[in-house]
């Protein structure tokens, strides 16, 4: 099961000696203190750790929202740590999908239009956009709810819309930051099952930050952060 997803010779994501320091001089604070991390294509990685351990900083760097202070980040073999703002935006647009704890859907905008948003930035034509957005909504099991605004949907449904928005472009990697943080237990498990399903059936690589052991248990691999360093990196024996 694990071996089957490690067919590529090069990992999709390679971090080497990545540090991130906020502030300068006396006030300088190291969030990451030298991370080496490889993520293979098709993997499902849960990043865990106490707050302040650097897991969110690491996800921001992986998601090209932030740049490392030192060290290298290769994405699909390409060095991306030196890219400027717009280059990183283009990389996110074409290769990455994001799911946030707070869903971050546009209010008073229908589910379908929310899902269409990344396609607008990809200059996809309206008709094709609509069709692709419908397919993504179907994949997250929300067919029939396309015209509802976020305020008319439950938390779980909103997160499904957010996931549909993240996968509508067929990204190489899905970055999920505490995707179940705002949901009750039953809803959380549904979302995790959806992510596992997407990982298994669509082959989408997923990197998920969570602090809940239950949710991390769904991943194929769990990376533990403590104090800006990788403390442990284990394969999950029995994926759910």
């Amino acid at each position: 099961m694990m071996a089957s997803s490690q067919t590529d010779t090069r990992p999709c994501i390679e971090l080497r000696g990545v540090t991130k320091v906020y502030g300068t001089g006396q006030a300088a604070m190291a969030a990451l203190r030298g991370i080496d991390l490889d993520i293979e294509e098709g993997d499902f990685v849960a990043v865990m750790g106490p707050s302040g351990s650097g897991k969110s900083t690491c996800l921001n760097i992986l998601g090209c929202l932030d740049t490392p202070t030192t060290g290298t980040y290769r994405f699909k073999g390409v060095e991306v740590s030196g890219l400027d703002r717009d280059q990183r935006a283009r990389l996110r647009r074409f290769y990455l999908g994001f799911v946030f704890q707070g869903y971050n859907l546009l209010s008073r905008t229908s589910a379908l239009e929310n899902v269409e948003l990344p396609l607008i930035y990809r200059r996809v034509h309206a008709r094709q956009r609509r069709a692709e957005a419908r397919r993504a909504i179907e994949m997250v099991g929300l067919t029939g709810w396309e015209s509802h605004a976020p305020s008319e949907l439950s938390g779980g449904q909103q997160q499904r819309v957010a996931i549909a928005r993240a996968i509508v472009t067929g990204p190489a990697v899905l970055m999920a930051d505490e995707p179940t943080g705002n949901l009750d237990t039953a809803r959380s498990h549904e979302i995790m099952e959806l992510l596992v399903d997407l990982n298994r059936r669509e082959g989408i690589t997923i990197v998920m930050v969570t602090h809940e052991q239950d949710m991390a248990a769904y991943a194929k691999r769990i990376v533990h952060f403590v104090d800006g360093l990788v403390e442990s990196d284990k394969r999950n024996g029995s994926p759910a």
Binding site: N60, G63, L65, D66, R85, D86, A89, R90, L91, R92, R93, F94, L96, F98, F100, G102, N104, L106, R108, T109, L117, P118, I120, Y121, R122, R123, R165
Partner: protein, 401 residues
């Protein structure tokens, strides 16, 4: 993409209808006042021009002194009848020349008296002014020559002095002398200056000079140029002739002026232009204030939508695209203010045209300029908020609230 952006902007604006409306109110008022002022001003100009053109576009006014206006410049000697005769004789393109001398006087008939202006001239005057007789006849050659005690009445004077009675053959007293009424003029109504053109008594020039003013002066010469002839050339010819007759050496300025209707129109509409300019400045200030209002509300909007901006940036929007989105939004706001302002202004003109008795003249140029200006206000005042949005750090923005 641009259509999507405009669509998005319209939706954002609809989301806060009242707020958007209040935001653009400054622009609406500014644009509406510009449109109203310029359209009414344009209408007034057209009206004046038309009335002057009805006098004949080939009319020249020759007056002593540098400008047309009340009174003579001290250094400017008045004309004589000989000057008018010389113009008629020497300038080939001239059709008619009327020497005119004016005076105000009280006209008395029985117990009725009426203060009016007395015009001394000849029959050419009626021809130049395109004025026909309602009853009676113009002056005969012998009356003109001899300075006979005859007069032609304007319609207002007839009404005031005679009411419903037929004045032909009656006598009207002006000062110490009395004059027989031989003709009545067609009513002409108000002039563009708002004066009653029918409030006058016309005498033969010689009669006025001998019996009322007691001098040989001619205060104004009206010249009519043949159709198809250049008024500019006639103007130059008359100037040359009069300089010669008045012995003006080449290095001295004219002590008279020859104006065509264009110049007179320009002079009359000059005040309108100044007024329009001033009101335009007021309107520009209100556009500025409106622009500041837009900037304020766009800054509020950027703060309110920080998370949305963060989401868009994370999804892969470029700085430029976020900038465009907010810029389009402020331009759509301000230019819809412009559109409403244009409509309001035009409606105000239609409403006021009867009250002010000014014709409605649609001026497409000012409408386009007003629209472009309002759009420009959106660009100028929306740029800073849009830049603020585009420069947001996506991580910070996502974490906002």
């Amino acid at each position: 993409m641009l259509w999507d952006t405009i669509h998005l902007a319209l939706r954002e604006i609809r989301r806060n209808v009242l707020r958007s409306f209040l935001t653009i109110l400054g622009i609406v008022i500014g644009v509406a006042s510009v449109i109203t002022m310029v359209t009414l001003g344009g209408g007034a100009t057209v009206q004046v021009t038309q009335q002057i053109a009805s006098l004949g576009s080939n009319l020249l006014m020759v007056t002593p002194g540098k400008r047309m206006g009340p009174g003579l410049a001290p250094s400017a000697p008045p004309f004589r009848v000989r000057d008018a005769e010389a113009i008629a004789r020497e300038i080939r393109s001239v059709v008619a020349v009327a020497p005119i001398s004016m005076q105000s006087a009280t006209a008395i008939v029985g117990n009725e008296n009426w203060s009016t202006s007395v015009v001394g001239t000849d029959n050419q005057y009626f021809k130049i002014r395109n004025w026909s007789m309602k009853a009676g006849r113009p002056f005969s050659d012998s009356e003109l020559h001899a300075g006979a005690s005859v007069c032609v009445l304007g319609d207002t004077v007839r009404q005031k002095l005679f009411g419903g009675l037929d004045p032909l053959g009656s006598r009207v007293r002006l000062g110490k002398m009395s004059f027989q009424v031989i003709g009545l003029l067609e009513p002409k109504g108000q002039s563009s200056m708002g004066t009653d053109q029918d409030d006058l008594v016309v005498l033969p020039l010689r009669t006025l000079q001998r019996r009322i003013s007691g001098n040989q002066y001619v205060s104004l010469i009206q010249v009519s140029i043949r159709d198809g002839e250049s008024t500019e050339k006639a103007q130059r010819d008359i100037e040359r002739l009069l300089r010669e007759r008045r012995h003006i050496s080449p290095n001295m300025d004219d002590n008279f002026s020859v104006m065509d209707m264009k110049e007179i129109t320009k002079m009359l509409t000059g005040t309108t232009t100044v007024l329009t300019g001033l009101l335009g400045a007021v309107a520009a200030v209100s556009l500025l204030v409106g622009g500041i209002g837009i900037m304020n509300i766009m800054l509020v909007s950027v703060t309110e939508r920080t998370r949305e901006i963060g989401t868009r940036l994370a999804i892969g929007a470029l700085e430029r695209e976020v900038l465009t989105q907010f810029l389009v939004e402020s331009v759509v706001l301000s230019s819809s203010g412009g559109l409403f302002g244009i409509l309001l202004g035009l409606l105000a003109c239609l409403g006021l045209k009867n009250a002010l008795r000014v014709p409605f003249v649609f001026n497409p140029t000012i409408v386009i300029i007003a629209f472009l200006f309002s759009a420009a206000v959106g660009v100028i005042f929306g740029y800073f908020p849009a830049l603020k949005a585009a420069r947001l750090d996506p991580i910070e923005a996502l974490r906002h609230e």
